[in-house]
Structure formats: structure tokens, C-alpha cells
């Protein structure tokens, strides 16, 4: 009897804490929106955060994009060659990158590179009572800390995803045309004939905006909600990566099923 009560108790507690986190995260998002005006009035705060989340992520984005593009070029070539249509390699690389891999891999790297930094920074600020100190000085920590980071993430992520797609295509070009020797004209012209600006490129950009929103708000909330201890901050950082990655992959499936009918 006691075990049964325990089971229901645990179940209820799990649901209640999940619901609490969902609600608190949504509340944080709306508070961020309300205090957003400050982050544009004092634009240097936002630009500083774009530097930390966007510019410092640039190296990892460019390097991984180039390797992803090269792998796509190689693997695509091996398969397409069997059907005698190795010129279609340009289409394959471009569509795979612009539609899927650009936004998704960028978001995963972004969560690992920038999201963890945001969570750890805010968690540590909370642990060392810097956030409370701000409130004591009548400075809203949401306006001063959260909102600039939110907008920085929202701005950086689509830029990084666009750069990722383009560098990846250059990586595919490097392998397919310069190394293997696929005809250059066919590589680009087949790509142009089959990649649609409004359907493929814009839809990829919409994906990257959605992923940027998800990764940033998750990282911010986990940091803001972290227990103010060393262990709490480390757990929050781990959760940021796990939840962001799963959210990005889940959202990707939903968005894809809506977009490319």
C-alpha cells in the first residue's frame, strides 16, 4: 500500500516539477520580451554578447561546416557514381546543407559552444549572488543580463547557420570538383536549377531562427534556474546541452514535415 502511494507520489512530483519548469521558462521568455527595450537602448550590451556567442563560435562553425561538406561530397559521389549521375553531387550537397544540416548541426554546435557558456555564466552569477546584488541596486537582472543574451542568440544563430551552409557547399565543391574532378559547370548549374530560393533557402533560415530561439531560451532558463551551488551549475550546464539537442532534433522533424511537402 505504501509502495503504491509512493509510486503515485513520485509520478505526481515528476509531472509537477516538469510543469513548473515549463511554466517558469515561458514566464522568463515573456519577462525577457518586456525588458527587451533596454537591450536595444543600450545596444553595446547586446553587441558584446553577439561577440561572445556569435564571433567566438565562428571558428568551430566554419571548420565543422567544411568537413561536413567534404564528407557529403565524398559519400554522395560514391553512391551517385554507381548510377552514372555524379554531376548531381552539387544538388545533393546544397539541398542537404541548406535544408537540414546547416540549421541542425549549427544549432547543436551552438548549444554546445554558446549555450553552455551562457548557462554556466548565469549560474555562477547566481551562485556568487551577483544577480541578488543587482536587484539590491534596483537593476533588473533580466534587463541587464538575460535580454541582451537572448537577442544575441537570436541574431547570431541564423548568421552562423547561413555561413555554415555556404562553407559546407564550398567543402563539397573542394572535394567534388577540385579533388575528384566532377565538371565544375554541371556542379553549379544543376545546383541552381534545383535549389529554390524561397522554398529551400528561406525555409532553412526560418529553421535556424526557431532553433536559435530554442537553444538560447533553454540555456538562459537553465542558468537562471540553477541551484546556486557548484554541483547545481554543472548539472544545469549538462541539462542545457541535452535538452537543447533533443529540442532541436524534435523541432526539426516538425518543421520539416510542415515545410517540404
Amino acid at each position: 500500500m505504501n509502495k503504491l502511494l509512493n509510486f503515485f507520489g513520485n509520478l505526481g512530483f515528476a509531472l509537477r516539477s516538469k510543469l513548473y519548469r515549463l511554466g517558469a521558462g515561458t514566464r522568463l521568455f515573456f519577462l525577457t520580451l518586456i525588458y527587451s527595450a533596454d537591450s536595444f537602448k543600450r545596444i553595446h550590451l547586446t553587441i558584446r554578447e553577439i561577440y561572445y556567442t556569435g564571433v567566438l563560435s565562428l571558428v568551430i562553425i566554419v571548420v565543422s561546416a567544411f568537413f561536413v561538406g567534404m564528407v557529403l561530397g565524398l559519400q554522395g559521389y560514391y553512391t551517385l557514381e554507381k548510377y552514372g549521375s555524379s554531376e548531381a553531387i552539387g544538388v545533393l550537397v546544397a539541398l542537404a546543407l541548406v535544408r537540414e544540416l546547416g540549421p541542425v548541426v549549427t544549432a547543436l554546435l551552438f548549444a554546445g559552444r554558446a549555450g553552455t557558456a551562457i548557462t554556466a555564466e548565469i549560474g555562477l552569477m547566481k551562485a556568487t549572488e551577483q544577480l541578488s546584488a543587482m536587484e539590491m541596486m534596483a537593476v533588473s537582472p533580466i534587463a541587464r543580463i538575460i535580454a541582451p543574451r537572448f537577442w544575441a542568440g537570436m541574431i547570431s544563430m541564423p548568421i552562423l547557420a547561413t555561413i555554415f551552409s555556404m562553407v559546407g557547399i564550398l567543402g563539397g565543391y573542394f572535394i567534388a570538383v577540385l579533388v575528384i574532378g566532377v565538371d565544375e559547370g554541371a556542379f553549379w548549374s544543376q545546383m541552381q536549377a534545383n535549389v529554390d530560393f524561397s522554398n529551400d533557402i528561406i525555409d532553412g533560415a526560418i529553421k535556424s531562427v526557431v532553433f536559435g530561439f530554442a537553444c538560447t531560451i533553454i540555456a538562459l532558463f537553465e542558468g537562471f534556474d540553477a541551484p546556486p551551488t557548484a554541483e547545481g551549475v554543472s548539472r544545469a550546464t549538462t541539462r542545457t546541452v541535452v535538452i537543447s539537442s533533443l529540442t532541436v532534433l524534435g523541432l526539426d522533424f516538425i518543421l520539416t514535415s510542415f515545410m517540404f511537402v
Binding site: 553595446h44 536549377a193 530560393f197
Partner: protein, 153 residues
Amino acid sequence: MERAKIDIWVGILVALGIAALFALATKVGNLTSNDIRETYTVLAHFENIGGLKPRAPIKGAGVVVGRVKTIVFDTEAYHAVVELDIDKRYVFPKDTFANIYTSGLLGEQYIGLEAGGDEKNLLAGDLITHTQDAVVLEKLISQFLYSKASEEE
């Protein structure tokens, strides 16, 4: 000093992003090749359109001169009515042939226009009377088989 440096780096990031988007739009996507702007619409009737789809290219001597606008089924005459959007720069005689071709063996289908000898030109809303349907592979095979069978008798 510190702040100016950060501004420069963020500026570089934004410029790179815009350059990448521009390259995607022009080099990878079809934003530049879509230069058909002002068009006039003519109609054509087909008994069978095969796999023709809206936005399929219309070609004259292999050059893309327009795109298919809509395809509807006429329930009174039981044929397909295809609206063709043709670029204003190109004019065709009234007795132009509209044929449905396939690019390559398994490629997409397009409409090929072959100019006739009429002195009057096609105007917006006109009907192309000379049309040739898409080749349906099954029909072709069955015709071939029947002719073979009749030869042997």
C-alpha cells in the same frame, strides 16, 4: 578600445553572414535565373498532359521563354486546359505548335513551342490549337505489340 574591437568583430560576423546569404541566393539558389517578370498568358488544350506540373518550363528552341501557370481539367470537353505564362519579350505566331516533351529519359516534362508560319502573333488569352500530347510509355508499348502481332498474321 576594448569595445571598438568587439564592434569590429561583430561587424565582420554580420558582413560574413550577409555575404553568405548573398552567395546562397545567387550562386546556389535560382534567384538570378528567374528573370521572367512581365508575362502574357495563352491557353492550350491537351488530351493527356502526362507528368506536366505547374511551374514547369516552356521552351522555344531549348531556351526557357516562360512557365506553366495552372493546369485544370475541363469537365465538359474532358481534356486538360493548361495556362502558359510567356515572357513579354518573346512573341510567337498564331499557328505555333505546343508539344509536351520529356527532358532526358527520366527527366521532368516541359512544353516545347515550335513556331509556325502565320503572320499574326499570339495575344494574351489566345488558344494554341496545334498541340501534341505527352508520350505515354504504356501506349507506345501496346501500339508496338499490336503492330508486331498484325505483322505476323
